[in-house]
């Protein structure tokens, strides 16, 4: 084999990112488009390897190729290609560069054979993806981006801490199955959990994705959480806690999604719901369940990408994203409408669309393992998905009340990217064995058995009927301009409010204390600033005499310490 093909998969993207930064726009676009194609080809020829690399006494394994990482590798190359194609009309060098860096880091992360390399790409992903949010260049997006990065960085630090402790204890950095028994493994588990949007940690996702650029959301929805899913599958497959965490993840976002007005935020919630299915599968740990989880991750990237792109196209053309401001767009954007419906059908798991063939595997595995209640929860969640993602998204954006917007189809490159995703959705839905052949365990599974297809169709029909009835009876939550309160409320409102509230409680409602506490808060910040601020005690230029005083103090102190 040519040595050329032994290049680490992520390198192509990094080189491309540098070229895009330096080259003129046209050439840069060409490079952006070529990188995923070339990278995918090279990956195809890359043999299963685990190259080792010694730094000091540490053995690193920067590139490990096996079935699991290869599948995610292909997926990310496809996602990167679709994303680049979707955004190729932009003349924004910042986004073009960082999206390639982001894709490359995600690919680097799934091929990382040791925890340290994983950490490295983990943080690079966080850093590069932040720019896709900042690139919206609004104050709101800036703040959301900073919050996003902060949480991602915390995840990285936890991962690093866990890694270092594991290394100190075992002397090995290898990233393989981790038993959830020690403090170190818990740290890593939480680090993965944050990126995977576990309940209570999920908030960065629904907070930041809707604030990103129309094209950035397509990249964001493809990589970060799926890398976390991969990391869980690699490290914590068969951990029972994941089954229940996953079940909660599938159910709770439904309620938020139904009342949410910002359609991209609806998609963000439905993303957590879909990841829930994957997490359940990983938690079960059987061959069928893992296969199902991974297949679902694959499909989710494609159909969620398709939905994000259709919403991105709407945002790009109309500048609006709230369900209450949109409607009736099918007249001016018929192609986008039909592509969006294909995505909606896939995410709702209509038979012959991609979501069906993978979700079915997870559901079967849940029943095989005897988790009836979890199965019921997933069933409820499936109905909910159809409700908020399958019907709500296309209905409010393209049908519903006519908001009187007359616009046109998005640029050709956007349409093309959506068409590719739609073709993949249908292709995998009709002929799932294409995907099954790539899965890490050999598959002997037929999604199209009669009971299964019938059950799913019943579920969908009743769900649709319910939506229709609720709509006609006017019980369905109207499209309101409202703010949903989620966990972010904890740190954006609750914590700042807590201190004054506690003050109020403690002093049986005396206003004085609460004010005092608030003042105390301010005073603490003031003290910090007074000492560390640009003209603070510790930062200012001291008179020479005081400096000398310090010398005397230190000398006296050390003499005392030595003598006694």
């Amino acid at each position: 084999m040519m040595p050329m093909t032994d290049l680490p998969p992520f390198l192509i993207f990094y080189i491309a990112a540098i070229l895009v930064m330096l080259l003129p726009n046209r050439l840069g676009q060409l490079v952006s488009l070529t990188a995923p194609v070339l990278g995918g080809l090279l990956l195809y020829f890359l043999a299963d390897t685990a190259g080792q690399w010694h730094i000091a006494e540490v053995v690193l394994e920067p590139v490990r190729v096996d079935d699991l990482s290869r599948l995610f590798g292909y997926l990310f190359h496809i996602a990167a290609f679709i994303g680049v194609l979707f955004s190729i009309h932009l003349r924004d060098r910042l986004q073009a560069t960082t999206s390639l860096l982001y894709a490359g880091s995600a690919i680097g992360a799934v091929f990382a054979g040791d925890l340290l390399t994983l950490f490295f790409f983990w943080e690079l992903m966080a850093l590069s993806s932040m720019f896709l949010i900042l690139a919206r260049r609004t104050e709101r997006a800036y703040r959301a981006g900073m919050r996003y990065f902060l949480i991602q960085a915390v995840s990285g630090v936890l991962l690093l801490l866990g890694t270092l402790i594991i290394y100190a204890q075992t002397g090995s950095l290898a990233f393989d199955h981790i038993e959830l028994t020690s403090l170190a493994s818990l740290l890593i588990f939480v680090a993965f959990g944050i990126k995977c949007a576990f309940p209570l940690f999920h908030n960065w996702l629904t907070d930041s994705y809707p604030e990103s650029t129309p094209t950035g959301a397509v990249f964001l929805s493809a990589f970060t959480t799926k890398v976390a899913v991969y990391a869980l599958a690699r490290g914590f497959a068969g951990t029972e806690a994941l089954v229940y965490i996953g079940a909660v993840m599938t159910c709770f976002p439904i309620f938020y999604a139904v009342i949410e007005n910002d359609l991209r935020r609806v998609l963000a919630y439905s993303m957590i719901n879909q990841i829930g299915f994957m997490v359940v599968g990983i938690g079960l740990g059987t061959a069928l369940a893992i296969n199902g989880a991974i297949a679902h991750a694959f499909n989710d990237v494609i159909f969620k990408g398709l939905l994000m792109m259709s919403m991105g196209a709407v945002l790009f053309r109309t500048g609006r994203m709230n369900g209450s401001d949109l409607g009736g767009l099918y007249k001016s954007m018929p192609v986008t409408t039909s592509l969006c419906i294909i995505g909606a059908a896939s995410i709702s798991a209509f038979p012959l669309f991609s979501g069906f063939v993978s979700k079915a595997m997870v559901m079967s595995a849940v029943l095989d393992e005897g988790h009836e209640f979890v199965w019921l929860a997933l069933l409820f969640a499936s109905a909910g998905v159809f409700h908020h993602a399958g019907i709500k998204i296309p209905f409010f954006a393209f049908f519903g009340h006519d908001a009187g917007i007359r616009t046109s189809e998005p640029p050709v490159n956007m349409l093309l990217a959506m068409v590719i995703a739609a073709i993949l959705c249908v292709l995998i839905g009709v002929y799932p064995w294409l995907l099954y052949d790539l899965l890490p365990f050999s598959v002997d599974y037929n999604p199209f058995d009669r009971s299964h297809v019938l059950a799913q169709l019943q579920l969908l029909m009743f769900s649709a009927a319910a939506f229709a009835w609720l709509k006609f009876a006017r019980i369905y939550p109207p499209e309101l301009r409202s703010t949903n309160i989620d966990v972010e409320w904890l740190y954006r409102k609750f914590l700042p409010g807590l201190s004054s509230y506690c003050g109020g409680l403690l002093s049986s409602g005396s206003r004085g204390t609460s004010a005092a506490l608030r003042a105390g808060n301010k005073a603490i910040m003031k003290v910090i600033f007074r000492h560390y601020g640009p003209h603070g005690t510790l930062a200012r230029t001291w008179p020479t005499g005081s400096m000398v005083l310090w010398v005397a103090i230190i000398l006296a102190a050390s003499l005392l310490l030595y003598y006694f």
Binding site: L160, Y532, M547, L555
Partner: protein
């Protein structure tokens, strides 16, 4: 076998070249002389280093007087490494100085500048190679006096007060060192460091030895900017000419740390310093306070040079913590961080020098949009910043990693939190600059104005080194290991 006179040459070359520079008057010519001298000092240091790497120790006796009677230069792997580091970085920074200095200093003063530069280098190398305690003091004074002059060359008028304060503090430090050496001499009747170690009376209650140690640690602590004796440092680095800031940040404090190591391990011995005396406690406490407090101060700074001057204080904190761990692993981590930090901080200060050269200011506000106006400079800054934070694959990561391991070996879990917190704080202040440079637009659009190649090249060499030593650690880690072994091996 090589001639041990090479040791002598290393120091005397810059010492002789310095007055020649003073006579010449032409800035260009002085630079050329200084460059030739530094690069030959560097080559000599490299030869000596490769010699001690295989044979252990190289000694040169002045006038043929054997060690306890005459002055001798004595190089083992520890000071071999430091001499190599100092001369290498001086060479690189001197390349930078040519353009930068001719921009900042009037032509007629340049010959004085290079004279002082060479004297400072001679002093630093002299401190490093000498085996004689009093000789060390003399070289310390030479380098200090020269560095006061260098700092006073700064364009800002505050450079004069900064230099004056440094002069007062530095003189106190030197006096303390002299007192310490004097006490040792009174006790042992010798000035040769190895000889002092052999004759030093053992025992806890030796008050003279204790007092000598106290004076030496505080004196050297002043020179190396040990918290809270660092107060002279921020202004000195901030207001000095760009090249001088980088030069001193990367070499002077490092040499001072070497002096501390030499006294603690070679002269007093590991047992006396760390087991009989509570130095480990003092160092760890001061180190932790330095890391957290100086980093926190750095976050709020508006002047970026000053920000990284405080960051230097914090980084010295790491080295002192490693020392305070009082184990071989801790000592290795200290030496390693000393080595790596020299490249990193040198790179950062040179990048800031490029900014000062083109934008005329290093205030945070002036850097708005600098990422677009000076892409290569800011890219260098970003990379060196990553290394400072300690991102994997960088030199900064390697030394923090070893510090981490040394702390775990002692089961000091609190230390892990301090190290991680220090890294996070450094992330914040590096980020402040990056955000300003890449995410803020300047008030009025300005032309792209990249620094000239003569400034960029040395900057990138240092940045490259701060990554190279993160990937290929054979030199740095291997030598740090050996150096730690050598130092601990001196103890009886």
């Amino acid at each position: 076998m090589i001639d041990s006179q090479l040791l002598l040459l290393q120091v005397t070359l810059p010492l002789i070249a310095a007055p020649i520079c003073l006579l010449i008057k032409s800035g260009r010519a002085c630079w050329a002389i200084a460059f030739i001298v530094t690069i030959s000092s560097f080559s000599l240091a490299a030869i000596v280093f490769s010699y001690v790497l295989t044979y252990g120790v190289l000694e040169y006796n002045f006038g043929g007087w054997v060690a306890p009677w005459g002055i001798s230069y004595r190089v083992d792997i520890v000071n071999g490494l430091i001499a190599l580091l100092v001369s290498a970085i001086t060479t690189i920074v001197l390349v930078f100085a040519r353009t930068s200095v001719s921009n900042e200093i009037k032509n007629k003063n340049q010959s004085i500048f290079y004279t002082a530069w060479l004297l400072c280098l001679a002093g630093l190398l002299g401190i490093t190679v000498t085996g004689d305690a009093f000789n060390l003091f003399v070289f310390l004074e030479i380098s200090s006096l020269a560095s006061y002059v260098l700092i006073a060359f700064g364009q800002d008028r505050r450079a004069l007060t900064a230099s004056y304060q440094y002069l007062v503090m530095g003189t106190i430090g030197a006096t303390f060192i002299l007192i310490g050496v004097g006490l040792l001499y009174a006790m042992t009747g010798t000035l040769n460091m190895v000889d002092i170690a052999a004759r030093l009376p053992q025992g806890v209650t030796n008050r003279t030895a204790q007092t000598a140690l106290a004076f030496l640690v505080v004196g050297v602590g002043l020179k190396l900017a040990l918290f809270p004796l660092h107060l002279w440092l921020p202004n000195a680095y901030t207001f000095a000419p760009s090249a001088v800031g980088a030069f001193l940040a990367a070499t002077a404090t490092k040499v001072a740390i070497y002096v501390l190591l030499r006294f603690l391990f070679t002269v007093f011995g590991f047992n006396f310093s760390f087991e009989e005396m509570p130095l480990d406690l003092i160092f760890v406490t001061l180190g932790i306070v330095a890391v957290i407090s100086a980093s926190a101060v750095a976050i709020f700074q508006d002047n970026v040079k000053r920000m990284f001057a405080y960051s230097s204080v914090a980084q010295i904190g790491y080295m002192i913590i490693g020392l305070g761990l009082s184990s071989k692993a801790g000592l290795t981590a200290s030496i390693l961080h000393l080595f790596n930090h020299a490249w990193i901080k040198g790179g950062i200060f040179l990048a800031l020098g490029c900014v000062a050269y083109k934008l005329g200011s290093v205030r945070l506000g002036a850097l708005a949009g600098a990422g677009y106006r000076m892409p290569w400079t800011m890219a260098a800054f970003l990379l060196a910043g990553l290394s400072l934070i300690g991102v994997p694959l960088t030199a900064g990561f390697i030394s923090k990693w070893y510090l981490f391991e040394a702390a775990i070996e002692k089961d000091w879990w609190l230390m892990l939190i301090v190290i991680v917190m220090g890294s996070l704080l450094s992330l914040i202040y590096v980020w402040r600059v990056i955000e300003m440079a890449y995410l803020r637009r300047p008030d009025h659009e300005e032309e792209k104005s990249e620094a000239p190649l003569s400034l960029l090249l040395p900057t990138w060499v240092l940045v490259f080194a701060s990554f190279y030593f993160g990937l290929d650690t054979r030199l740095s880690v291997g030598v740090a290991h050996k150096a730690a072994e050598t130092l601990i091996g001196y103890s009886p």
